[in-house]
Protein backbone atom coordinates (compact mmCIF):
# COMPACT_ATOMS: atom_id res chain seq x y z
CA UNK A 1 0.00 0.00 0.00
CA UNK A 2 1.57 3.36 -0.94
CA UNK A 3 2.19 5.85 1.81
CA UNK A 4 -0.11 8.87 1.66
CA UNK A 5 0.28 12.23 3.32
CA UNK A 6 -2.85 11.54 5.40
CA UNK A 7 -1.28 8.54 7.11
CA UNK A 8 2.22 9.96 7.24
CA UNK A 9 3.79 10.11 10.72
CA UNK A 10 6.64 12.49 9.82
CA UNK A 11 6.29 16.27 10.10
CA UNK A 12 9.87 17.58 10.26
CA UNK A 13 13.01 16.21 8.65
CA UNK A 14 16.58 17.44 9.08
CA UNK A 15 19.02 16.46 6.33
CA UNK A 16 22.71 17.31 6.33
CA UNK A 17 24.15 17.87 2.89
CA UNK A 18 20.54 18.36 1.85
CA UNK A 19 20.82 20.74 -1.08
CA UNK A 20 22.23 18.32 -3.64
CA UNK A 21 22.30 14.66 -4.65
CA UNK A 22 20.95 12.05 -2.26
CA UNK A 23 20.18 14.63 0.44
CA UNK A 24 18.05 16.73 -1.89
CA UNK A 25 16.27 13.66 -3.27
CA UNK A 26 15.43 12.60 0.30
CA UNK A 27 14.15 16.10 1.05
CA UNK A 28 11.88 16.06 -1.98
CA UNK A 29 10.58 12.59 -1.19
CA UNK A 30 9.65 13.51 2.39
CA UNK A 31 8.29 16.91 1.39
CA UNK A 32 6.00 15.39 -1.23
CA UNK A 33 4.34 13.60 1.69
CA UNK A 34 3.88 16.89 3.51
CA UNK A 35 6.94 17.03 5.75
CA UNK A 36 8.85 20.26 6.27
CA UNK A 37 12.49 19.65 5.43
CA UNK A 38 15.52 21.43 6.78
CA UNK A 39 18.35 21.13 4.28
CA UNK A 40 21.80 22.03 5.54
CA UNK A 41 24.91 22.61 3.47
CA UNK A 42 28.47 23.72 3.94
CA UNK A 43 29.61 24.29 0.41
CA UNK A 44 26.84 26.70 -0.47
CA UNK A 45 27.14 26.27 -4.24
CA UNK A 46 23.57 25.02 -4.66
CA UNK A 47 21.10 27.35 -6.31
CA UNK A 48 18.59 27.99 -3.55
CA UNK A 49 15.93 29.55 -5.76
CA UNK A 50 15.99 26.44 -7.98
CA UNK A 51 15.53 24.23 -4.93
CA UNK A 52 12.58 26.29 -3.69
CA UNK A 53 11.06 26.14 -7.17
CA UNK A 54 11.54 22.36 -7.35
CA UNK A 55 9.72 21.89 -4.05
CA UNK A 56 6.97 24.29 -5.11
CA UNK A 57 6.45 22.40 -8.40
CA UNK A 58 5.58 19.25 -6.48
CA UNK A 59 3.25 21.11 -4.14
CA UNK A 60 5.57 20.34 -1.22
CA UNK A 61 6.07 22.66 1.75
CA UNK A 62 8.90 25.16 1.23
CA UNK A 63 12.10 23.76 2.74
CA UNK A 64 14.34 25.63 5.12
CA UNK A 65 17.87 25.89 3.71
CA UNK A 66 20.56 26.57 6.28
CA UNK A 67 24.30 26.90 5.93
CA UNK A 68 25.81 24.83 8.74
CA UNK A 69 29.18 23.13 8.78
CA UNK A 70 28.78 19.80 10.59
CA UNK A 71 32.38 19.97 11.79
CA UNK A 72 31.95 23.30 13.60
CA UNK A 73 30.23 22.80 16.98
CA UNK A 74 29.18 26.47 17.26
CA UNK A 75 27.31 26.18 13.97
CA UNK A 76 25.55 23.05 15.22
CA UNK A 77 24.37 24.93 18.32
CA UNK A 78 23.19 27.88 16.23
CA UNK A 79 21.33 25.50 13.92
CA UNK A 80 19.60 23.81 16.85
CA UNK A 81 18.58 27.18 18.31
CA UNK A 82 17.18 28.14 14.93
CA UNK A 83 15.23 24.88 14.57
CA UNK A 84 13.94 24.96 18.13
CA UNK A 85 12.48 28.41 17.51
CA UNK A 86 10.52 27.03 14.53
CA UNK A 87 9.59 23.43 15.30
CA UNK A 88 8.31 21.41 18.26
CA UNK A 89 10.35 18.37 17.33
CA UNK A 90 12.54 16.81 14.67
CA UNK A 91 10.98 13.52 13.59
CA UNK A 92 13.69 12.36 11.21
CA UNK A 93 17.40 13.10 11.06
CA UNK A 94 19.26 12.00 7.93
CA UNK A 95 23.02 12.15 8.33
CA UNK A 96 23.92 12.39 4.68
CA UNK A 97 26.90 14.69 4.55
CA UNK A 98 30.27 13.16 3.78
CA UNK A 99 33.54 14.87 3.17
CA UNK A 100 36.80 12.98 3.14
CA UNK A 101 40.33 13.49 1.95
CA UNK A 102 41.07 11.81 -1.37
CA UNK A 103 43.84 9.24 -1.13
CA UNK A 104 45.70 8.59 -4.36
CA UNK A 105 48.55 6.67 -2.73
CA UNK A 106 50.45 6.04 0.48
CA UNK A 107 51.87 9.57 0.60
CA UNK A 108 48.31 10.83 1.14
CA UNK A 109 47.94 8.83 4.35
CA UNK A 110 47.98 11.76 6.77
CA UNK A 111 46.65 11.68 10.31
CA UNK A 112 45.09 15.15 10.06
CA UNK A 113 43.19 14.30 6.88
CA UNK A 114 42.02 11.00 8.31
CA UNK A 115 40.70 12.52 11.53
CA UNK A 116 39.00 15.34 9.65
CA UNK A 117 37.35 12.82 7.34
CA UNK A 118 35.87 11.05 10.38
CA UNK A 119 34.85 14.40 11.85
CA UNK A 120 32.93 15.37 8.70
CA UNK A 121 31.55 12.00 7.66
CA UNK A 122 30.88 9.92 10.79
CA UNK A 123 30.78 12.08 13.90
CA UNK A 124 27.77 14.21 12.82
CA UNK A 125 25.53 11.15 13.29
CA UNK A 126 26.30 11.32 17.01
CA UNK A 127 26.73 15.07 17.33
CA UNK A 128 23.46 16.05 15.67
CA UNK A 129 21.38 13.28 17.26
CA UNK A 130 22.55 14.25 20.74
CA UNK A 131 22.19 17.97 19.98
CA UNK A 132 18.57 17.41 18.89
CA UNK A 133 17.92 15.44 22.08
CA UNK A 134 19.47 18.18 24.22
CA UNK A 135 17.62 21.01 22.52
CA UNK A 136 14.20 19.48 21.99
CA UNK A 137 14.13 17.15 25.00
CA UNK A 138 13.43 14.33 22.58
CA UNK A 139 15.49 12.47 20.00
CA UNK A 140 14.32 12.03 16.42
CA UNK A 141 12.17 8.91 16.06
CA UNK A 142 14.16 7.94 12.99
CA UNK A 143 17.88 8.46 12.44
CA UNK A 144 19.39 7.39 9.13
CA UNK A 145 23.05 7.46 8.18
CA UNK A 146 23.97 7.37 4.51
CA UNK A 147 26.86 5.04 3.83
CA UNK A 148 28.37 3.54 0.70
CA UNK A 149 29.87 0.34 -0.65
CA UNK A 150 33.32 1.62 0.39
CA UNK A 151 33.77 -0.32 3.64
CA UNK A 152 33.58 -3.65 1.77
CA UNK A 153 34.91 -2.81 -1.69
CA UNK A 154 38.01 -1.08 -3.00
CA UNK A 155 37.13 2.22 -4.65
CA UNK A 156 39.69 4.65 -6.13
CA UNK A 157 40.83 7.53 -3.85
CA UNK A 158 38.33 6.31 -1.26
CA UNK A 159 40.47 5.00 1.63
CA UNK A 160 39.54 7.65 4.19
CA UNK A 161 35.97 7.98 2.96
CA UNK A 162 35.53 4.22 3.30
CA UNK A 163 37.05 4.21 6.78
CA UNK A 164 34.70 7.06 7.74
CA UNK A 165 31.72 5.11 6.44
CA UNK A 166 32.80 2.02 8.38
CA UNK A 167 32.98 4.22 11.48
CA UNK A 168 29.54 5.68 10.72
CA UNK A 169 28.04 2.20 10.36
CA UNK A 170 29.51 0.98 13.64
CA UNK A 171 28.42 4.09 15.53
CA UNK A 172 24.90 3.71 14.12
CA UNK A 173 24.58 0.21 15.58
CA UNK A 174 25.82 1.33 18.99
CA UNK A 175 23.69 4.47 18.95
CA UNK A 176 20.64 2.37 18.18
CA UNK A 177 21.43 0.04 21.06
CA UNK A 178 21.66 3.02 23.41
CA UNK A 179 18.58 4.86 22.16
CA UNK A 180 16.12 2.11 21.19
CA UNK A 181 14.53 2.36 24.65
CA UNK A 182 13.66 5.98 23.78
CA UNK A 183 11.57 4.97 20.75
CA UNK A 184 14.45 5.79 18.38
CA UNK A 185 15.53 3.70 15.40
CA UNK A 186 18.99 4.24 13.97
CA UNK A 187 19.72 2.58 10.64
CA UNK A 188 22.19 2.88 7.80
CA UNK A 189 21.43 2.99 4.10
CA UNK A 190 24.46 1.63 2.32
CA UNK A 191 23.98 2.94 -1.18
CA UNK A 192 25.18 1.94 -4.60
CA UNK A 193 26.77 4.59 -6.79
CA UNK A 194 24.75 7.75 -7.26
CA UNK A 195 26.09 10.29 -9.74
CA UNK A 196 26.59 13.39 -7.64
CA UNK A 197 29.08 16.25 -7.39
CA UNK A 198 30.53 14.49 -4.38
CA UNK A 199 31.09 11.25 -6.32
CA UNK A 200 32.75 13.19 -9.13
CA UNK A 201 35.00 15.01 -6.66
CA UNK A 202 36.00 11.72 -5.02
CA UNK A 203 36.66 9.50 -8.02
CA UNK A 204 37.10 11.81 -10.98
CA UNK A 205 35.20 11.50 -14.26
CA UNK A 206 37.56 8.90 -15.82
CA UNK A 207 37.13 6.41 -12.96
CA UNK A 208 33.39 6.93 -12.93
CA UNK A 209 33.18 6.31 -16.68
CA UNK A 210 35.20 3.13 -16.23
CA UNK A 211 32.92 1.90 -13.45
CA UNK A 212 29.80 2.74 -15.45
CA UNK A 213 31.09 0.70 -18.37
CA UNK A 214 32.18 -2.23 -16.17
CA UNK A 215 29.23 -2.45 -13.82
CA UNK A 216 26.37 -0.24 -15.02
CA UNK A 217 23.95 -1.77 -12.50
CA UNK A 218 26.03 -0.33 -9.67
CA UNK A 219 24.66 3.12 -10.50
CA UNK A 220 21.20 4.12 -9.43
CA UNK A 221 19.20 7.33 -9.15
CA UNK A 222 19.20 9.30 -5.90
CA UNK A 223 15.42 8.91 -5.83
CA UNK A 224 15.83 5.17 -5.17
CA UNK A 225 17.78 5.94 -2.00
CA UNK A 226 15.17 8.50 -0.99
CA UNK A 227 12.38 5.93 -1.35
CA UNK A 228 14.25 3.55 0.95
CA UNK A 229 14.66 6.36 3.49
CA UNK A 230 10.94 7.14 3.34
CA UNK A 231 10.18 3.44 3.75
CA UNK A 232 12.30 3.25 6.90
CA UNK A 233 10.37 6.17 8.38
CA UNK A 234 6.92 5.06 7.24
CA UNK A 235 6.00 3.27 10.43
CA UNK A 236 5.88 -0.01 8.53
CA UNK A 237 9.50 -0.78 9.37
CA UNK A 238 9.60 0.27 13.01
CA UNK A 239 10.96 -3.13 14.02
CA UNK A 240 14.08 -2.48 11.94
CA UNK A 241 16.83 -0.92 14.05
CA UNK A 242 20.61 -0.87 14.15
CA UNK A 243 20.75 -2.33 10.66
CA UNK A 244 22.86 -1.69 7.60
CA UNK A 245 20.55 -1.90 4.62
CA UNK A 246 22.17 -2.09 1.20
CA UNK A 247 20.32 -0.17 -1.50
CA UNK A 248 22.01 -1.09 -4.76
CA UNK A 249 19.54 -3.27 -6.67
CA UNK A 250 21.64 -6.23 -5.55
CA UNK A 251 24.48 -5.22 -7.84
CA UNK A 252 27.33 -5.33 -5.29
CA UNK A 253 26.72 -9.07 -4.80
CA UNK A 254 27.37 -9.51 -8.51
CA UNK A 255 30.62 -7.54 -8.63
CA UNK A 256 32.77 -10.62 -9.19
CA UNK A 257 30.64 -11.86 -12.07
CA UNK A 258 30.72 -8.40 -13.65
CA UNK A 259 34.52 -8.44 -13.58
CA UNK A 260 34.60 -11.97 -15.05
CA UNK A 261 32.16 -10.98 -17.81
CA UNK A 262 34.25 -7.94 -18.66
CA UNK A 263 37.47 -9.89 -18.87
CA UNK A 264 35.77 -12.51 -21.08
CA UNK A 265 34.45 -9.77 -23.36
CA UNK A 266 37.94 -8.25 -23.57
CA UNK A 267 39.43 -11.65 -24.49
CA UNK A 268 36.81 -12.16 -27.21
CA UNK A 269 37.59 -8.74 -28.65
CA UNK A 270 41.33 -9.48 -28.80
Amino acid sequence: MPITSGSWPVKTVLITGGTKGIGLACGLAFAKLGAVCVLTNKWGSANESEIYAEFARTGAPRPLIVEADVAVPEQTLTLMDNLHSRFDEIDVFICNVALAQNVAGLTDYQRRGFLKSIEYSAWPLIDYTLAIGDKFGKYPRYVIGVSSLGPDHFLPNYDFAAASKACLETLAKYLHARLCGDDVRVNILRTGMVLTDSLLASFGSASIKNMQESIPDLFLPAEDIAKAAVGLCSGWMDAVGGQIITVDKGSSFNLASAVVNRSQNNKERT
Binding site: W43, Q110, A201, G204
Partner: protein, 83 residues
Amino acid sequence: MERARIVVAVKANIESCTGIKDVDPAKSLKDYGVSSLDMVEIVSKTMRELKVKVPRSQLMKAKTLDGLIDIIRESALAAAKPL
Protein backbone atom coordinates in the same frame (compact mmCIF):
# COMPACT_ATOMS: atom_id res chain seq x y z
CA MET B 1 36.07 40.99 -8.81
CA GLU B 2 39.68 42.08 -8.47
CA ARG B 3 42.23 39.29 -8.59
CA ALA B 4 44.27 40.88 -5.78
CA ARG B 5 41.30 40.64 -3.41
CA ILE B 6 40.92 36.94 -4.14
CA VAL B 7 44.66 36.35 -3.64
CA VAL B 8 44.58 37.98 -0.18
CA ALA B 9 41.52 35.98 0.89
CA VAL B 10 42.80 32.62 -0.40
CA LYS B 11 46.28 33.07 1.11
CA ALA B 12 44.76 33.98 4.48
CA ASN B 13 42.52 30.93 4.38
CA ILE B 14 45.35 28.60 3.36
CA GLU B 15 47.20 29.81 6.44
CA SER B 16 44.21 29.51 8.77
CA CYS B 17 43.24 26.04 7.51
CA THR B 18 46.69 24.48 7.17
CA GLY B 19 49.18 26.79 8.87
CA ILE B 20 51.10 27.16 5.59
CA LYS B 21 52.43 30.67 4.92
CA ASP B 22 53.79 32.41 1.84
CA VAL B 23 52.64 29.98 -0.82
CA ASP B 24 54.42 30.32 -4.17
CA PRO B 25 51.52 30.91 -6.61
CA ALA B 26 53.08 28.74 -9.30
CA LYS B 27 54.06 25.79 -7.12
CA SER B 28 51.86 22.73 -6.68
CA LEU B 29 49.60 23.02 -3.62
CA LYS B 30 49.98 19.29 -3.07
CA ASP B 31 53.73 19.80 -2.63
CA TYR B 32 52.91 22.04 0.33
CA GLY B 33 50.85 19.23 1.85
CA VAL B 34 47.47 20.76 0.96
CA SER B 35 45.00 17.85 0.69
CA SER B 36 41.69 17.64 -1.19
CA LEU B 37 39.89 18.15 2.12
CA ASP B 38 42.00 21.23 2.89
CA MET B 39 41.04 22.59 -0.52
CA VAL B 40 37.35 22.18 0.30
CA GLU B 41 37.81 24.06 3.58
CA ILE B 42 39.93 26.81 2.01
CA VAL B 43 37.52 27.40 -0.86
CA SER B 44 34.34 27.18 1.21
CA LYS B 45 35.74 29.82 3.60
CA THR B 46 36.77 31.99 0.67
CA MET B 47 33.39 31.60 -1.01
CA ARG B 48 31.64 32.73 2.15
CA GLU B 49 33.92 35.76 2.57
CA LEU B 50 33.79 36.86 -1.06
CA LYS B 51 30.16 35.78 -1.62
CA VAL B 52 31.10 33.68 -4.62
CA LYS B 53 29.84 30.22 -5.56
CA VAL B 54 32.31 27.73 -7.03
CA PRO B 55 31.12 24.30 -8.22
CA ARG B 56 32.89 21.65 -6.13
CA SER B 57 33.71 19.65 -9.24
CA GLN B 58 35.99 22.52 -10.35
CA LEU B 59 38.32 22.00 -7.40
CA MET B 60 40.04 18.97 -8.90
CA LYS B 61 41.34 21.21 -11.67
CA ALA B 62 43.22 23.52 -9.30
CA LYS B 63 46.82 22.36 -8.96
CA THR B 64 48.46 25.65 -7.91
CA LEU B 65 47.42 28.77 -6.03
CA ASP B 66 47.29 30.61 -9.36
CA GLY B 67 45.01 27.93 -10.77
CA LEU B 68 42.72 28.07 -7.74
CA ILE B 69 42.45 31.84 -7.96
CA ASP B 70 41.60 31.61 -11.66
CA ILE B 71 38.76 29.18 -10.88
CA ILE B 72 37.33 31.42 -8.17
CA ARG B 73 37.64 34.49 -10.40
CA GLU B 74 35.97 32.76 -13.34
CA SER B 75 33.08 31.69 -11.10
CA ALA B 76 32.70 35.24 -9.82
CA LEU B 77 32.75 36.66 -13.34
CA ALA B 78 30.27 34.08 -14.61
CA ALA B 79 27.88 34.93 -11.79
CA ALA B 80 28.21 38.66 -12.51
CA LYS B 81 27.35 38.28 -16.22
CA PRO B 82 23.84 39.56 -17.07
CA LEU B 83 21.47 36.84 -18.30
